[in-house]
């Protein structure tokens, strides 16, 4: 087994708001290997996007990365100066966001915006940058690349915007592409096209993708390994096949069982009772215990540690300990 591309250890990112400290990411460990699709799933507010932003060192005020280490090819991203991290951002690690309209600049053509990164990172001239942009637009399979390069984002459809985001992000051939809910804002048929494109690019470039999603279908179809997050913590991590075949954490089991698939029609579905706890004041002990049907006394008092079940399958639950 080769060394991981990215090794995140004990990452803690807190937001200091007027109402209290939001422990958005609270001690998260995982690795991303080379040439793999690593998925991060969880519900709203579980800290999956903050984890991604922490890797990019793009945490906005009042957030702060308190603790932890993130080794990218042996370099700790948290120790780098602002100018050093700028050389990695976009060049080595790139990120696609959920809503492309918020990430594209409305007053520049997409060709211009795509050419910016190669110009900055490879010292290209404007003309070469533009040529590169047109080439990239062709690569993400947008018709009439020359014409498209001269259009502004508002003219494009949602799918086309997301394609231009992908073009922008692969422009410097990064080793790691972070995709934060890349298909949530588009329709299913477009989603299928985009995922197909991402997979194709990944095969060709041998890059790793960190896919953040709440859709288990996408995880099953594209992922190699998956981590399930709940309330700022990773509760279970393992290969996609393993997690779907034998989910061990009650939360993972609950999530998989509440998909309305395979149930007799119109029958009551399984569901997880209650709602996600307030991240300012998470429950003590295991954060899932108020909603868990297997809770025992120990769950309320002691925070479960990650237990290794072999084959890289880790779970943080008191009940899975042997």
């Amino acid at each position: 087994m080769n060394t991981p591309l990215l090794d995140v250890k004990g990452l803690r990112t807190y937001f200091y708001t007027g109402r209290g400290v939001v422990k958005a990411v609270d001690g998260v460990n995982f690795i991303i290997k080379e040439d793999e699709v690593f998925c991060l799933v969880g519900e709203t507010g579980c800290g999956k996007s903050v984890t991604a932003l922490s890797i990019m060192r793009l945490i906005p005020y009042p957030g702060k990365i308190l603790d932890g280490s993130m080794l990218y090819k042996g370099k700790n991203l948290l120790k780098l100066s602002e100018s050093e991290i700028r050389k990695i951002r976009g060049r080595e690690i790139a990120m696609i966001f959920q809503n492309p309209m918020n990430s594209l600049n409305p007053v520049f053509t997409i060709g211009y915006q795509i050419s910016e990164a190669p110009i900055t990172h490879f010292n290209l001239s404007r003309q070469d940058g533009w040529k590169k942009a047109v080439e990239l637009i062709e690569k993400v399979k947008m018709p009439d690349a020359e014409v498209r390069a001269k259009t502004f984002p508002h003219v494009l459809s949602g799918g086309m915007r997301q394609r231009s985001m992908i073009a922008m992000m692969i422009s410097c051939e990064p080793n790691l592409l972070i995709a934060d809910e890349p298909t949530t804002s588009v329709d299913v048929t477009i989603q299928a096209q985009l995922m197909h494109l991402l997979k194709e690019i990944k095969e060709k470039r041998r890059m790793s993708i960190m896919l953040i999603t709440h859709n288990f279908g996408l995880v099953a179809e594209t992922g190699d390994r998956v981590a399930v997050m709940y309330c700022g913590k990773i509760v279970e991590i393992g290969s996609v096949k393993e997690i779907f075949r034998e989910p061990m954490h009650p939360y993972t089991q609950g999530l998989l069982r509440c998909l309305p698939i395979g149930f007799e029609r119109k029958k009551q579905l399984d569901s997880i009772p209650g709602t996600i706890p307030n991240p300012i004041n998470p429950p003590p002990g295991c954060r899932f215990y108020p909603r868990c049907k297997y809770t025992v006394e120990k769950c309320k008092l002691q925070e479960p540690l990650q237990i290794d079940l072999g084959k890289g399958h880790l779970v943080a639950c008191h009940l899975c300990g042997g």
């Binding site: 459809s157 096209q193 099953a220 996609v240």
Partner: protein
């Protein structure tokens, strides 16, 4: 066949769009000639992608938008022409639940205020009775007395949607339109809300018009499903029939685009369509799906297919529905999808 509660005939809605001073006025053909019937007590699902006109359709059924043309019968009464006070009597028998509860609930009204409004408007004014009905409705949607004086921002997304459901159902309606009731919610809350909707339907014998883009959800709740594309219905069938004997190429594309939550089957036969839905201002001539369809013929480009009953209770608008056999795509997909969860029955922690 049961009693028909809702009968929609050739509904059309064109929204004018502003052009230049001298240009011809253009229209967005949001809904362009849609007919269907809904029986009492059934759930009629409407699926389609954004821009297919499904939300406009739902709004027109409740007369929240006036149709450009077309007729609608509610319980045998022609209601497109009824206005004002007369219509108010019928309005009582219809409810609607919108997609985003944080937008559809008034942020300045407590739960009690929100639920009191429909009662007050329809003449239930006696204090005790109002209070009693509000409380019993709240209990039915899984909330309690403690939520009465809360404002929407003090509730979670799931609780807000429960209040919206309570508001839609407090007048004991016959028909409830659900416009994407679960898509803004998290997975674990989605299933709670779906369970609630099914339970309420059983209890009050409600008729649902269920609008969504999520095929997995619509399959679970619906008896019959209509698939919409660019303002037209392309296929209507009973749920199992639609999934097992899919006939319209667009339905197949939609079904096989849904990712399957089973990693063991990475290589199923897929039917991925290229391109994107065209603009509803200038929809393509002939069959509206023809620019994206791989089975296109000359006839498809020149002539618009009509929605015909190809098999019993199975309507398709496709020129080639009889010669194409597309069911192999979806039948396999569906079998795999059902197997995926059969395996998960084993998922119980060994304590």
């Amino acid at each position: 066949m049961g009693r028909i509660l809702l009968n929609v005939e050739e509904f059309k809605k064109y929204f004018p769009v502003k052009g230049g001073l001298f240009s011809k006025p253009a229209y967005i053909r949001a809904v362009d000639g849609v007919s269907f019937q809904v029986e009492k007590g059934e759930t009629f699902g409407v699926v389609g992608e954004s821009g297919s006109g499904k939300t406009t359709l739902g709004m027109m059924v409740l007369k929240l938008i006036e149709p450009t043309s077309g007729k609608m019968y509610f319980d045998g009464i022609e209601i497109t022409s009824i206005k004002g006070r007369e219509f108010k009597k019928l309005r009582k028998r219809m409810g609607i639940v919108f997609q985003d509860p944080s937008a559809s609930l008034n942020p300045r009204m407590t739960v009690r205020g929100t639920l009191r409004r429909p009662l007050a408007i329809h003449g239930v004014k006696r204090g005790e009775e109002v209070e009693k009905r509000i409380l019993s409705m709240l209990e039915k949607v899984g909330l309690g007395r403690e939520h009465l004086d809360r404002y929407p921002h003090e509730l979670s997304g799931g609780q807000q949607q429960r209040v919206a459901i309570a508001r839609a159902m407090i007048l004991n309606p016959d028909l409830v339109v659900h416009d994407e009731p679960t898509s803004s919610l998290d997975v674990s809350v989605q299933s709670q809300i779906l369970n609630l909707l099914l339970r309420l339907q059983n209890e009050f014998n409600l008729t649902y018009l269920f609008i969504t883009h999520d095929l997995v959800t619509v399959r679970h709740v619906s008896d019959r499903i209509a698939v919409m594309y660019l303002g037209k219905i392309v296929e209507i069938a009973e749920t199992d029939e639609l999934f097992k004997n899919t006939m319209h190429p667009y339905t197949v594309a939609l079904l096989s685009a849904a990712p399957i939550p089973n990693p063991e089957v990475k290589s199923v036969k897929r039917f991925i369509v290229g391109g994107e839905p065209p603009s509803p201002i200038n929809p393509p001539q002939g069959c509206r799906f023809h620019p994206r369809c791989r089975y296109v013929t000359k006839e498809c480009i020149s002539q618009e297919p009509r929605l015909l009953e190809v098999e019993k209770n199975h309507y398709v608008a496709c020129h080639r529905s009889c010669e194409l056999d597309l069911s192999s795509y979806t039948r396999d997909l569906w079998r795999i999808m059902e197997e995926a969860i059969a395996g998960s029955e084993r998922m119980i922690i060994k304590t």
